[in-house]
């Protein structure tokens, strides 16, 4: 693997790490498997791309994307809490709807960001090479988001979110409206996913309606790989583990794509298969281990 490939994988790992934190919030903290993310990642990309091409500041465009993602999450959460639709199904419905919404927003299946301002400009203006600028911005982004979420989950409201995932009956008896908490939590999760999508679009120079396919699987892979390697001793640790898990995951993918077995090598289109196998492996590994030890 070349140095550039490594840099690229780390960069991707960091920016998708923001998405992985979002998946951690729903999947692990709220116990709410949320497939909305496959739609909210391109939603963030679409909103920020359209905003930038209409002359809006790229940083402001990120905020708009965050707002859009939050709204998407709220839709899923309301379908689940107020209308009693199973969380998985509710999120698939939102995801499907977002496919159309995203095309509407972009006025087509994709939108290019060539020569437009991006969030990387101020960093590049400092004289930093473009391929390091991405790394720097994404690293800073992942750091800020991790710190903010760790802080938030330690507030009164954040603690109520943790408790809602852990023991909804108890936290209801303590006066918390768990519906409200789920709406906030799933909204926040999708806000992060959309932020991640917005950053990716600005980095790739394009937003595409198909760029969200497999987001949930990549997010789960990151969370699970992170937990396995870096542990879950505390909430803070688990969140940082999700980001680092995302980096490890992207490196593993880059490595796999570079492998050659005689005439056989992987295509980028094999990525989802590899990821699915990776997640399956990580999910059944603890079970297998237990069985082996028992014998």
């Amino acid at each position: 693997m070349t140095w550039y490939a490594v840099l690229g994988a780390v960069e991707q790992g960091l920016v998708y790490g923001i998405m992985a934190i979002g998946v951690y919030l729903t999947f692990r903290i709220l116990d709410f498997p949320d497939l909305t993310v496959d739609g909210s990642l391109p939603l963030g990309a679409a909103i920020s791309a359209v905003a930038i091409t209409s002359g809006i500041n790229p940083y402001l465009a990120l905020l708009l994307a965050i707002g859009g993602g939050f709204a998407a999450g709220i839709v899923t959460a309301i379908l689940n809490t107020k209308f009693k639709i199973l969380h998985l199904l509710a999120s698939i419905l939102t995801m499907i709807a977002l496919y159309s919404v995203n095309i509407r927003i972009m006025g087509g299946p994709n939108i290019a960001l060539l020569g437009t301002p991006t969030v990387f400009d101020p960093v590049i203006a400092l004289g930093i090479a473009p391929h390091y600028a991405g790394l720097l911005v994404f690293g800073a982004g992942a750091l800020i988001v991790s710190a903010a979420i760790i802080w938030f989950l330690r507030t009164e409201l954040g603690q109520a979110i943790l408790a809602t995932g852990d023991n909804p009956q108890m936290i209801t008896a303590l006066g918390v409206n768990t519906h409200f908490i789920i709406i906030i939590g799933v909204g926040l999760s999708n806000a992060l996913v959309a932020l991640s999508g917005a950053l990716i679009a600005q980095n790739q120079g394009a937003a595409d309606v198909g760029m969200g396919i497999g987001t949930i699987i990549a997010g789960l892979a990151s969370v699970i790989v992170g937990e396995t390697i870096f542990g879950t001793k505390s909430m803070a640790r688990a969140i940082i583990a999700a980001v680092l898990g995302s980096v490890v995951y992207r490196l593993a993918i880059a490595l796999a794509l570079g492998l050659e077995f005689g005439r056989f090598s992987f295509n980028p289109s094999d990525l989802n298969l590899i990821t699915a196998l990776l997640v399956i492996g990580a999910l059944i590994a603890p079970n297998l281990k237990r069985k082996m030890v028992a014998k």
């Binding site: 009164e156 603690q159 109520a160 943790l162 852990d166 023991n167 108890m170 008896a173 918390v176 409206n177």
Partner: protein, 264 residues
Amino acid sequence: MITIESGTKFFHKGSVNEVRALHDINLEIAEGEFVTVIGSNGAGKSTLLNGIAGSFFLDTGSISIGEHEVTRWPEYKRARLIARVFQDPLLGTCPSATIEQNLALAMRRGKRRGLRPGVRVRDRSYFRQELEKIGLGLESRLNDRVGLLSGGQRQALTMLMATLIKPEVLLLDEHIAALDPKTAVQILSLTNEIVAAQSLTALMITHNMRHAITFGNRLIMLHQGSIILDISGKQKKELGVEDLLDQFYRAQGEALATDSMLLT
């Protein structure tokens, strides 16, 4: 403090499985009354407490707590006034949170939860002081996850959490039933101390007739969703287990089937 007027609750209404869990309940509980609730399995005891707490709405009738008419209040809103301890020690606490985080959650029962730190430094000494009172040595383990505690320890913690800020009403649904006899007695006397110290209005469900007589200052017996016995004060103090059983037969007008009412 609590007023229930013609409260009725059906489960599976209109189906072949229809159950009339509460039947025209009229109950007035004064402030500071500690009511023990007995009755055979399925008599409607849990349904009565759940109905007061708002786990569901009554089919007919009304409930007031203090000056609040709460009939249509959802459970989380009634939690401003009501604290609960469940039978299952696992239900009352958050296993992955620490002892101090659990206590901090309970400190804000029924209050707004914003962006201030969940656990505040100045609360810690209060937590330690309160934990010391329950005498299990938990005051030195503020940062231990609650999942590490035994069932009895968790139930003691739940008792403390329920009364950390004084509730208008405390509801206890067989809260010692899942504990070993020694721990059960400890939690029961802890309950009694707390209820007395804060002069709480409380309802406690029990299957133990002796406990039902010894504790509290009023006793009600439920049968098939109705209150069939209601005694308090001196009359209750003078009651023996035998008398209680006798009352049970008479009120029902039928022999006591072999149900799980324990004679202890």
